[in-house]
Symmetry: D2
């Protein structure tokens, strides 16, 4: 058996390539949209991808099934859940699977079980290996149903659905898989950091038995209490999740070789785009952005969290043009953006910010301050006007914040910036300065004049032993 787990940091996606070396048949589970790695590995291992499986309609990334099938010239069958009913049908699939269906991949046998809760149609795959003369279940691809230390959150489809889904999830956890033995290994679709769970553990596999004993999700209690605990302290659900759902239900557009048509834009052409409704995404470091950037541009520094923040803050209806640290960053930025459905990447500033500067075009900046400077401002009785805006999560905020600070989760800044007074200096703070830079770029874009990013954020504040309140 060939078994490969591919992990994409940031979105923390785990997808799988499983094959039988004897027959050369293989299956891919929950692929991302940048599909070349699956193709390369299959080729290297002399495997032919027979099935592409989706455990459910993903909310946090664009599913790669169609893209993978297309790159394989159609030689693979896309299978999705058949439990979705009219609302959650995926018309692009070749086959719908229901509870009890079995797929054969060489000597491997994948049996479908329906495990609603994270979504209504969610399925999982229990794998048996006939080559070991056994009809015992060996491991399970759990998708977003069951994570290490957590379950998939049931609140993503809105208030109306969440109680119903939480009830289904209770049944899936305690009833549906009750007969599966402790020794079954589980391979989920996400690891730590994903917003599809509340507190996903940092290993990417475990066993049913260990989770049953250790995971919060299996703690025995009444149904009501279990649901209450589950829904408590749920992190904010990114607004872009709604859009992902729709894209994944209808079938995402094919990318093909579109990446190679991203244009290198001379400074003047780029300048023209600004007036033509293109959105400028600047992926340089928070420091470089702070010192000099193109007015109106949004900063999301390149890194594994770029796609999540792009989903949180960027509009989907505008073409994007990029400001890169260096041209060779394009490939990585492209992968991050297409994974969350930003396909309209039209070009990047060929000569970088330096070309823009030398053309004498306008620039804007974010002030930077240290925690020590911030504290001095706040303590200065003559001041009294500085607003500290804390853009961390509810959980981080609760664990300790600066007295008097205003709290708006960074992902909500787009909708809630009107709550902040425009006529006072704003010091934006997060854990490090990363999210504060994103938020700062939004404030500047919306007419705020005095915005500064607190370098090192609350990590530095606490490292300096400055006081916090909870």
């Amino acid at each position: 058996m060939f078994f490969h787990q591919r992990f994409v940091p940031g979105l923390a996606i785990a997808s799988y390539l499983l094959g039988d070396e004897k027959t050369g048949e293989a299956v891919v589970v929950d692929p991302t949209r940048d599909v070349q790695p699956y193709i390369d590995i299959a080729r290297e291992e002399n495997l032919h991808i027979k099935y592409i499986l989706e455990t459910h309609i993903h909310a946090d990334f664009v599913c790669g099934s169609l893209e993978l099938q297309n790159s394989l010239s159609g030689h693979a069958t896309i299978c999705v859940s058949g439990h979705g009913g009219a609302d959650w049908k995926q018309p692009f699939a070749d086959r719908e699977l229901s509870e009890g269906d079995r797929l054969e991949v060489g000597s491997l046998n994948l049996e479908v079980i329906h495990v609603p809760g994270h979504t209504p149609e969610h399925i999982a795959f229990v794998v048996k290996d006939a080559s070991r003369n056994s009809d015992k279940p060996w491991f399970m691809f759990t998708g977003d149903f069951l994570f290490v230390g957590d379950v998939g959150r049931p609140d993503l489809l809105g208030e109306d659905e969440k109680q119903k889904l939480a009830n289904q999830l209770y049944d899936s956890v305690f009833d549906k898989i009750a007969k599966l033995p402790d020794y079954v290994e589980i391979f989920p679709a996400h690891g730590a950091g994903s917003l599809c769970g509340k507190a996903i553990g940092s290993r990417n596999s475990s066993t049913l038995g260990y989770e049953r004993r250790v995971s919060e999700a299996f703690k025995e209690t009444t149904r009501e209490k279990w649901i209450e605990t589950l829904l408590e302290d749920m992190p904010l659900s990114p607004s872009y999740f709604q859009r992902m759902k729709k894209i994944n239900r209808d079938g995402p557009a094919l990318l093909g070789s579109k990446r190679h048509s991203v244009s290198r834009m001379p400074t003047k052409e780029f300048h023209r785009r600004v007036f033509e409704n293109s959105l400028i995404l600047d992926v340089r470091s928070k420091e470089a952005f702070a010192a000099a950037h193109i007015p109106e541009s949004i900063n999301i520094p390149l890194g594994s969290n770029l796609p999540t923040w792009a989903g949180w803050v960027l509009p989907y209806d505008r073409p994007i043009v990029l400001v890169l640290e260096k041209a060779s960053d394009l490939g990585e930025v492209w992968n991050h953006l297409i994974r969350v459905g930003f396909d309209r990447i039209e070009g990047f500033l060929e000569d970088g910010i330096e070309g823009w500067e030398q053309a004498g075009y306008p620039l804007n900046k974010v002030e930077t301050e240290t925690v020590s400077e911030l504290r001095n401002h706040l303590n200065d009785s003559r001041n009294g006007r500085t607003v500290v805006l804390d853009v961390r999560t509810e959980q981080e905020w609760d664990a300790g914040h600066i007295e008097g600070a205003v709290h708006i989760h960074g992902g909500e800044i787009k909708e809630r910036f009107t709550e902040i007074p425009k006529d006072r200096p704003i010091s934006v703070v997060c854990g490090s300065g990363y999210r504060a830079s994103i938020a700062s770029s939004f404030l500047l874009r919306n007419g705020f004049d005095h915005v500064s990013n607190v370098m090192g954020g609350m990590t530095a504040w606490k490292a300096s032993d400055y006081e916090t309140v909870s």
Copy 2:
């Protein structure tokens, strides 16, 4: 938790890098001697290697603990089993571990259990994760004690020891780990293809519960019957295993930057070496070797099986000089050879076989024949003299061979070639021609004149529907 399994094909070695991202502490289990990958990954993940663990004294590869410690400038503690007594002491270690000892690596807790059987001193590590508020065992590094679908063979220390070790192994399997729950994941030191087991499965992890139900090794029966079955059909133990044991007990020599001193030898210098007792190892393909090679050279075509065959057939007391397909193959050949203790690699033929040919120096060759040609020879009543030498394993031989063939396992050819008549044409056959090429090179080196390699071997023979006997 950071968890990484590194798998080396061919010798099928699985080693592990496990770390706690919060504290940055990490541990490496059973490293191979080419240690750069551990260092690179630890660096990338911002981890500091605190412990280097050996589950036991390996027989099939040179342990990399000392090399790794040295490359880390000594900043890591080597821990080995303290259950070896006077015979199996490893004086190079910094610390001896005994049943019940615990190592802390950040929030991770590794508890030692003594599981003799494969070797007398063998230990395993049961891992718990305090960060999940649990004292439940999560997974276990089993070394060569327990594989997926198999146990570590107890017959490697010789006839005298094997009954005793088999008895200990029975206790380790059925008694010692009896209290460990089914849901514990197991991570062994070897995967399919390793000669440390009889029939290791092709996945590189499993769970205790699944193995207890499915593995031959857990099949319940009497102690006597279990031991009898275990020792049945055991594959031949490579003779080089004895040497590895000794090296790993005493502590292998440090390599440091020795690799960079492998010399590019001009044709004339290489020619001189042949007369100075250097052994010539030719790693070109079996076809290239067949058509033209330096007399007396041994052919082991480059590939993941090179180290095992080097261990089987090469003498350890001679410096080695190499004939490569191209100079850039050196790094890969080096890694393969040092993993099994061939450190005296002095150089390679700078201009390749072509330089040798153009110097007018002597050449030798192996004849090649197809299965169809072989069959015609055998059926030709005027012939009657061709000897078919089958160098596959006992198990392959038993599953079907050519009538009248002589069987000598390829690994024993060095000792048993005298059983083959020198005055008759020899057609050497294996599964593909790979092992047959190694054996053919040995026969030529030992004075056989008419040696041919059957291309495609028994795979081709069977694909042609030619008759076999069992």
Copy 3:
């Protein structure tokens, strides 16, 4: 000024990328068909390719002008000679240049001079640099008119034309460029090894003055004597040159992304292709080919001489399927073949020769022998039948060959193999065994049974101090 000479070994092609860094304008002279390097370098240097120039209609490689223009989305002007008349028109060009025309590339000025001889329409470009306030000529792109140590041969268009062209060449050399000063550097389109000259020197640039004093091509004598000397000892002109001329005149087909559609063929599909008129090209080493190859396949070992030999011996009207040493060789083989116009590369044997062997399909081989064995055969009075076939050039043959050998230039084996007796053993010899392997594969394909390749060839023969005759 940005100046880059790109040299392709084997065909020994020198092409040029010249640009003015201030304006960003650039020009490419005589590009090959694998155009990515020009694009990459121009991008790296922030240059925009304005012109693509052809000095003449090349005979030895497919010109890359159209491919380059297409890869630049048409943003470049292709300029060719306008001196070709009706016969040598290149309709695909955007502009025809005549004596005295000037092209401006930033401050650089390229002036056209008509220098017929190698071909009737041949032009050269004399470059001046206005940024140095000078109207002095600095250097010249000479194409195949003038090489280091040689001139472009005038005999490629056939017997009828060669006297006429040689006369024109005399005028071009002694009259046309007479007024150009000694200090002008020359940058030719070919280096040592190219068959477009007789004896091209091994540096890739020189000066007019040095060549005028040292080159054979400038030796002063009568016109008649000069032409006589020039045409003496001319190496054989490859037959594929005719085809190149035609392709380059009419405009080569565009390749675009065709390379990515070369198929990985499973053994069975490959086997089927053999019966469907595909030509098998085996690019493994001569030794690997000798020991085992697919019947009817042609061997041209991978290396910089592959394209020349492909042009000599492969038919242009058949699709090609490949046998590679390893899959990753495909890119290099592709580049070699398309440079000489073999565009119909349909696929390669996915599992290599080993898959073929193991399927039990038929194999063929070339015998190998050493020079010592060959000499023994020839000296053996009982033998007397072995034919030595020497496939080297006329010049090599004349410098010393084995007594009694038959001489056929390797490039002519396709037409002249009928001169060799079929019923006698043939020992093929060249300088090393490379060309002998190509020729051997041809003989086998044409029904010869006893063919052997003499390893090391005449180099080994001479190194062994065996006798030769001249």
Copy 4:
């Protein structure tokens, strides 16, 4: 003949590897201290480096002869000029060469001529090629004697020497090489951008004849007038040149594998170093540095000009610790620094500026402003206090600057910052902001409080059509 010119941008160094393919002998001329490229190419081409030549004692980079010899295990002879007398002896050399000496490298013949002027001992090498049956000179390695469009400046050894050297240079140019014919190609040790000449042209080769006609350096006039013109408008000589001279005379220290011992420093250790006299070099972009940097650190953004600026502004007597954009930049920074003799690179900040920020350690910043903002300040009658500091060269300054600006060449800021008033806001301007960032970091380090870097510099100012004076 194998001929390779290696060009290092920034310092604009051209060094050479020249070999005879037939005998395999080769020579390297004026190597830099990062010697691996010479070794790799020689290996690839099957050449053995026989001689390492120095044309003179370099002033702008550390010569790599000793390092190269050491990396070749001593198997190469270092040859230097023997015309230096007692003052300019290089005791590390194996051989001193004098006018008329000849070196043989296969069929190549290198003849020494003494061409003082740039330095007293300067020699050049005239190359003839016996394989072309010629005793004509073909080309010349001119070192810093003769560049394309320029000669080596004679003013680097101080006021006392410069008239004497200029006189010698006149003789070398007009007398010593007078007998060398026009057609000789010249290969100098520097291209455009090097400070060893005044106005070196942008191609890296030319011919004597072309230069005699076009170069300012050959303009015929009286000796006095020629010298006067030569010494006019000479760019400022970097102060580090003195140090290079001394190092290169005495023989630079060997680096060996020292690069691998550059330490990854945790934030706390790095913090400690600041108090232990280590100099912090921050090579991030000018924008990132502006927004947040470690107090007292010097910014020289990574790029080909880093070594020259390091030479200008960094002290040689302090160990250096680095702040990098990312860890993988280390190799490039290392090469830049060792080329100009900064060997004491002790480590880099492991977690980058982010780790420092999050530790709550102090930060400093440079203000940034646009040209439009600067102009508004200057025009604001209430202001009147802003000092514009222009750090460009004399030549750039003369071609147009902002009215009222103060001019100090960036390379002199270390000595002349006291000329600038400390109590007024300083706007630093250069061509782009690069040199202004270096100068700004110096001012901050020396107690200036209000320092801002004008983004885009005078290029932006002029692009905006703002007024300048000359």
